[in-house]
């Protein structure tokens, strides 16, 4: 069959003879047929597992054990389990902290990269590089940087005299959360920068010029014009990033594995620990189900915004 390589020419070719009769088929039926594959994927691999996960959370199911209904037992256990409470706290503080810092730094670097400069395209590409590095590799790179014997950060701190003792970047539980946050910020910052750069570019320049003529300085213009204009983008970016940051299983798993003594677990790594490593599927599912309410709210809010922006 001849392929139509460039479209506009394709229109000149006569329609296929058999095509005419098919037009009687109702459009809605065709639409449903087109949507059938995605519906199958959704039903089998999203909706069913989600329902199954929720019901598993109410059982004592294990990997080789069908399990019995135990009611709220798993949740009662969890809410009395210091490890779960700490993981929930870690997830919450890590997500809000990391997203906030990324938001501030992302705005700063977007403003910076929107200035006129030589080789702007190249500089932007280099600044976005962490975003292109696979998450697993980023985690490995930081694990090597944080290495407590031969890591580069350790000798930097000791040689510059910033500390007279070695810093236990990953094995001191108080420091480890900050180390994890640093690696997450490194990887996630370019997304904010890109989103904010695009938003900055879409702000009409006459607004800024008018304000400048009226005597507003650059800082005043940023807070009174740029920031309000970017409100929508900031909200969407922060919510998207909150979901993904919560989800950064790989960083915690590779950097600390939840240790030392379970002090740096976040909810996804704890769910892995209970559900897969200890094969207590019921408990693992319960950990995940406990955060579903938060995500339902976040997803519904975000869906509304994304669709509204799409219609506009």
């Amino acid at each position: 069959m001849a392929r139509l390589s460039s479209l506009p020419d394709g229109f000149d070719s006569p329609p296929m003879p058999t095509a005419k009769r098919r037009r009687t088929r109702p459009d809605w039926l065709v639409a449903y047929v087109f949507l059938a594959p995605i519906a199958a994927v959704f039903a089998a691999f999203i909706a069913y597992p989600l329902a199954d996960g929720i019901s598993t959370a109410f059982t004592d199911r294990a990997i080789a054990h069908a399990g019995n209904f135990v009611g709220l037992q798993n949740f009662v256990t969890l809410f009395n389990d210091p490890e779960f409470l700490r993981a929930a706290w870690n997830s919450l503080t890590l997500t809000t902290g990391v997203v906030t810092i990324k938001m501030v730094l992302g705005m700063a670097s977007a403003v910076l990269l929107s200035q006129t400069m030589p080789c702007r395209g190249l500089i932007r590409s280099l600044a976005f590089l962490p975003w292109a590095v696979p998450g697993m590799i980023a985690a490995l790179a930081w694990k090597w940087i944080f290495d407590e014997q031969s890591g580069v950060l350790q000798s930097l701190v000791l040689q510059l005299g910033l500390s007279d003792r070695p810093v236990y970047w990953l094995s001191d539980p108080h420091v480890a959360m900050f180390s994890i946050a640093l690696a997450m910020i490194w990887q996630g910052l370019p997304f904010f920068t890109m989103m904010f750069l695009a938003a900055l570019a879409s702000i009409p320049s006459d607004l800024n010029e008018a304000a400048a003529i009226d005597g507003a300085g650059p800082i005043r213009r940023f807070f009174c014009i740029t920031l309000p204009q970017m409100r929508g983008v900031i909200a969407v970016t922060a919510m998207l990033s909150a979901i993904w940051t919560f989800n950064s299983f790989h960083m915690v798993f590779v950097l600390t594995g939840g240790g030392p003594a379970g002090r740096t677990h976040i909810l996804p790594t704890l769910a892995y620990e209970y559900g897969i490593a200890q094969s207590r599927l019921g408990m693992g599912s319960a950990v995940l189900v406990s955060v579903i309410p938060v995500f339902v709210i976040l997803i519904v809010l975000l869906t509304g915004r994304m669709l509204r922006q799409d219609e506009a």
Binding site: F11, F128, W142, V236, L288
Partner: protein
């Protein structure tokens, strides 16, 4: 706007200083990976660390490529990622077309469900999805892993393509329909050829996601025949001795394909990213 020369100077200094800081921040870790991969093992553990390799060596690459299973893991990753790309582009295009173009009951609901599925974090699904794969006998197979990745890539591709199809003038469809083309013909012969750049970007995203993914790979595949490189590398890390030279060389090898994609399609990716999540 005219700036006073002194203000201009100050401004330039701040910008230059900021750029140096920003570039150091984003490039230093990557530089460290590359440099470590080129050092001999005694130099890797030398104190203080050397900024440049004093004895440039490709030994780590040789070991990673020919004396470990890494190459096989990379091949598995590539096969899985290709499978995911093809399947999600097809399903995505088929689903995006009616939502973007046709009138039917449930159009808005479909769009809503697609966005919601895209936003659903994979870490919420990994345990029950494991059970589904177990039922299907697909644990520890590449097919199983591909199916698992579709839960993220299909909604994502569909959502991006709905936006992309929306930018193609509807008159083209109408002309084709008047000429007697069916909906499927309109999609495959009229829309898809114009949408090639969009499909390419969406495909690259799907490929990148599958290539980079770690959690599902860790849980669903464990034998050499189906393990992807992310799971393979974590196997190396979890041991007590870290072979950093080999790990860093493997990392460089695994970054290369993504970097090629990223450089080749950077312009589209940034645009696509902006168009997909916020239309402005």
């Amino acid at each position: 706007m005219v700036e006073r020369p002194r203000t201009k100077m100050v401004r330039r200094c701040i910008v230059a200083f900021g750029l140096v800081l920003a570039l150091f921040w984003s490039l230093a870790p990557v530089y460290w990976v590359v440099v470590t991969s080129l050092k001999t093992s005694s130099e890797i553990y030398a104190l203080p660390p050397t900024l440049f390799p004093h004895h440039l060596t490709f030994e780590n690459y040789r070991v990673a490529l020919f004396e470990s299973d890494f190459l096989r893991f990379v091949l598995n990753s590539a096969l899985v990622a290709l499978g995911v790309t093809v399947v999600s582009a097809i399903i995505g295009a088929l689903a995006a077309y009616p939502v973007a173009r046709m009138r039917f009951k449930g159009r808005m609901t479909s769009a809503r469900l697609i966005v919601m599925a895209y936003l659903l974090p994979p870490s919420l699904l990994f345990i029950p999805l494991f059970l589904v794969l177990q039922h299907l006998g697909l644990v520890d197979t590449k097919t199983g892993l591909i199916l698992a990745y579709l839960t993220f890539t299909v909604p994502f591709c569909t959502w991006m393509l709905i936006g992309y199809f929306g930018t193609i003038p509807a008159e083209l469809d109408e002309a084709a329909r008047i000429d007697g083309a069916s909906r499927l013909q309109t999609l495959s012969k009229v829309i898809l050829p114009i949408a090639t750049p969009g499909i390419t970007v969406v495909g690259l995203f799907a490929f990148t996601h599958a290539w980079n993914e770690f959690l599902y790979a860790l849980v669903y595949v464990y034998s050499k025949d189906s393990k992807t490189f992310t799971a393979g590398l974590s196997g190396l890390v979890m041991g007590d001795t870290f072979i950093w030279g080999q790990l860093m060389a493997s990392s460089v090898i695994a970054i290369v394909p993504i970097l090629i994609i990223y450089i080749a399609a950077q312009k589209y990716i940034v645009e696509g990213l902006a168009a997909g999540s916020v239309k402005g």
